[in-house]
Symmetry: C3
Subunit: 402 residues, 3 copies
């Protein structure tokens, strides 16, 4: 068993010693999760619940966990992209002894990893550790290999510890099981099949809320005080919502690896990989296309203070202060008319906008307006022409560029 | 303690005496609520559940409540816009004694306030009154100051006791707390934060259904027998649904202080302050803009027997028997073509419609068609022009106007 | 009591004898259901839960059920379209004795009716049969007369045992009660009314998830392993989802007697009676109109590999490999321009397409394009004209027709 650590100096010394283990690598992310296992196949992990995750931080705790594992007979393999193992009583005891100097201060926002071990130590004493807990390390941001590492990355995104689109999420769909969810608990579909007759006849068939590989954001993440999500089904785990974002329940959806980087009103769809900036308004039923649905693989970013009107569709990235009128679809190939005066108006706030001179209306493709600021897209209701104008919305110019 | 009231005459006498108290004011609304308090801060009221509310009615019961409060040591302050106080055993005993003549008849639809006191008297006897109950009076329809009065007004709207848009709801957003909802119970976000580690590790983290300041309509209101709401998230508390209204789950939403005044099919969005009349059909994904989203602060009323096609958008108020074609957006500033013959056709059912004579198509703004009856808005698919025609829908003319 | 059946030969003999009863008819469908009864009116059936249903199959089990009923004193009336009766101990004992030869093999996918009787026999022994169980036969596919037969048909559709649109569902809305649903349990609205004061004051008011006549698909049916339904409210009982179909939560809905006949991505609305083929993609907010909403009663079929863009509307049936662009509405009467070259291109993959020769753009109505393959519907954004082109999507030609 690990010697009881008496003070911070001894703690640091143990950390240093551990980090000098041959091949040791500081993890990109790590954490301890309570896992839900298959009802039929208990080796199948269906969900991982992290009370707290660490991302490029708390390397001391990581080293302690590695040391505690070693003492309980588990050698961490640092050579792979991720390492996942069960937690046993020995590990908890050892980690608890190593964290001794911090135990008394571990409350509220302080020493969350110590709080986790404290709690596990109590669970250990009442003999309820069983096979419920896993320790997860990610050493390289590569294709996902385990459910636990997948959840760790989804947590990193949804808690805002990493930027959207910054992680490799390949493999997630292959690793996660499609399951039925009831009250936050994942249930194997086969288990439902095996028990259908008994449960239906006894009146104990569970109330299934959805069937998916991913859980919902609100089952794992506590949003900021001024964030509102009016229906949990609207935000998938792995989405990221900046404080102050409101998600209305009419026709909204925010997929994983998508979300907001400022306070945004969301009444429409933010598809996977799409990102929306502060002060923007995604109107009722508006659609921001995703990498798998119409954007030719280019993820869409919407700037600040931009308005997507009700039932509009955006298939191109937009800058700050833009407007797409209600009901209008602006796709990469949409031909958009622009008058000579508007060419000048738009150039005035977009130094990079290039457009040849002309005395007449020219037609550019939607993609030519990608990332420009202050564009108002309309359809002329007299003649059906889709046109681009300088919007009357304020555009906060990036001082680095101008 | 209050003397036991023996008969209706004594009851009336007590009411009269109470109403003569100096400064006494009959309340606009009042009721007794069971409240949900903060898990961390028990002084914070998170929700108020009214078994029944009174709105410009049952002034006798109000007087009895005031008298019973007085005997239990609470002086009602009639000078403010609202008055909220805790209920204790003394109050319940006193109110119960005052209601004696009606106790036996208080069942089903009769004497609901007496039923409430009967039930509270039973709860008092099993010693479960605790701090769960509040008595709420509203004396003036002014800016909201308490959670309890806010809920009382939302109940008045959602139970149909007052007309939509007739109450002052200012202050509601400031008074209500943003909380997580699980099985109808509001939970402080901070309480989740404080207990996250313990609950996640023990597998007791609650299933959060939404995060909002407002609860859902169906958590407080029992709809009419022929009303259908296919998903509770689609109707916010404070909405009003006339009997026979159907709310489908595709892309619908009815916000607070919005709703229907007749049987309506709702498959789209009725934003805050918008009202829809009998026999109208809000098609799948259709949007009626709200006062905070594109209507320049003018709340929209949609008349009777009007159809908003799938994915259409209405930014103007419409009269009876109108149609907006599927996918079309009619906003205040939309330029709409109208032919000489249609000017006549539309005038035939709209005596107030003014439009200068012309031999050619004229273009009017959307706002010029506000509140007119029998208009069909289309986009000519040959040339893209948005046009207005006399619709073929029946228009039931208002006999007072014609 | 029925003699204990010792082997398959005796079993067959009992079946044969029973099928020779005067007037005997093999049922189209039959099954045993656990029913939910009204809380106030226990004679009112609110829901029927079938652990397994039989549709044009297992006629031996049907005969055994008829024989067991007879021995327990119930004469099946074969003359009507449906027959529903309570199940008592005698019936269960008799059916159990008749199924003796199969009891040991009745596990997993084998002998499901025997498994049902086995389970009921166990429930009988612990004296919990009560009034919970019903036996339901459908002899003719006619107008529905009972809740139980209605559920049996909805199960037949949702489990894929019959094709969509192949059953007579008339009468369903008349037979089913509009009720409040909480955790899969239907509750009479009147019961809520009677108990509102008590439940609100005691804090036991149920969490109502929806109010409707129909339950949700996921409360009764276990989808295929690769089917995903991201929100249970999006699929009504009576819908049919082919394996591999994904239903996203943004603006989707699949009504009863509607659904998919192959793996389909569903982010929009599939109205009642609409059917979508393999490989098609119903974009976010797209609407397929239903028989009650704009199609003049003609149910819409969408072919294979067809794309409805985000927020598009389809009011006509489409063949294989079609595209409706985002935001576009194609209705029966929409005038659609087609150029001489596209007439040829479209004829090349649609031998049945007729269109007179012309050197200019012609305008056809939406209905003229019904069921054609490989059509791309666009709106020319220079002049607002809605046009039809040969789509670049692959069209798998039906070899029987070409």
């Amino acid at each position: 068993m690990l010697n009881k650590i008496k003070n911070e100096k001894e703690f640091k010394s143990l950390v240093d010693k551990t980090e000098k283990i041959d091949g040791y690598k500081r993890p990109i992310g790590f954490g301890i999760a309570r896992v839900d296992r298959g009802q039929l196949n208990s080796n199948k992990i269906l969900q991982a619940n992290f009370p707290i995750i660490n991302w490029n931080e708390n390397f001391g705790s990581a080293a302690i966990f590695v040391a505690a594992l070693k003492k309980s007979g588990v050698q961490v393999d640092f050579s792979g992209s991720e390492f996942v193992c069960d937690i046993d009583k020995e590990f908890v005891k050892n980690a608890n002894r190593a964290f001794t100097p911090f135990v008394n201060d571990a409350t509220k926002e302080a020493h969350k990893n110590v709080q986790v071990i404290n709690m596990l130590n109590w669970i250990r004493k009442i003999d309820k550790l069983k096979n419920h807990y896993k320790l997860v390390f990610i050493f390289k941001d590569e294709i996902l290999k385990s459910v636990e590492a997948t959840y760790l990355k989804l947590y990193a995104l949804s808690t805002g510890k990493v930027a959207l689109r910054s992680l490799n999420l390949n493999g997630a769909f292959g690793v996660l099981s499609n399951v039925a969810w009831s009250m936050g608990i994942p249930i194997e579909l086969d288990w439902l099949r095996v028990n259908e007759i008994e449960m239906k006849l006894q009146g104990t068939y569970p109330n299934i809320e959805f069937v998916d590989k991913f859980p919902r954001f609100l089952s794992h993440v506590i949003p900021a005080d001024n964030t509102r999500i009016l229906d949990t089904s609207r935000v998938r785990m792995g989405a990221q919502l900046f404080a102050g974002t409101t998600v209305m329940p009419g026709a909204s959806y925010i997929n994983f690896n998508a979300g907001t980087t400022g306070a945004v009103m969301v009444e429409g769809r933010i598809s996977s990989s799409a990102i929306v900036g502060a002060g923007s308004d995604i109107g009722g039923g508006a659609s921001i296309l995703g990498v798998l649905s119409g954007t030719d693989g280019n993820p869409i970013t919407i700037g600040k203070n931009t308005l997507l009107g009700a039932n509009s569709v955006s298939g191109i990235p937009l800058g700050d202060g833009c407007i797409i009128d209600a009901g209008l679809a602006i796709l990469e190939g949409t031909k958009i008319g622009i008058s000579p005066i508007e060419v000048l108006n738009i150039k005035a706030v977009n130094s990079k906008f290039t457009c040849k001179k002309s005395d007449e209306i020219q037609f550019l493709k939607g993609l030519n307006f990608a990332n420009l600021n202050g564009i108002h897209f309309r359809q002329n209701s007299k003649n059906g022409m889709i046109i681009a104008l300088r919007s009357k919305r304020e555009v906060v110019l990036n001082s680095d560029l101008h």
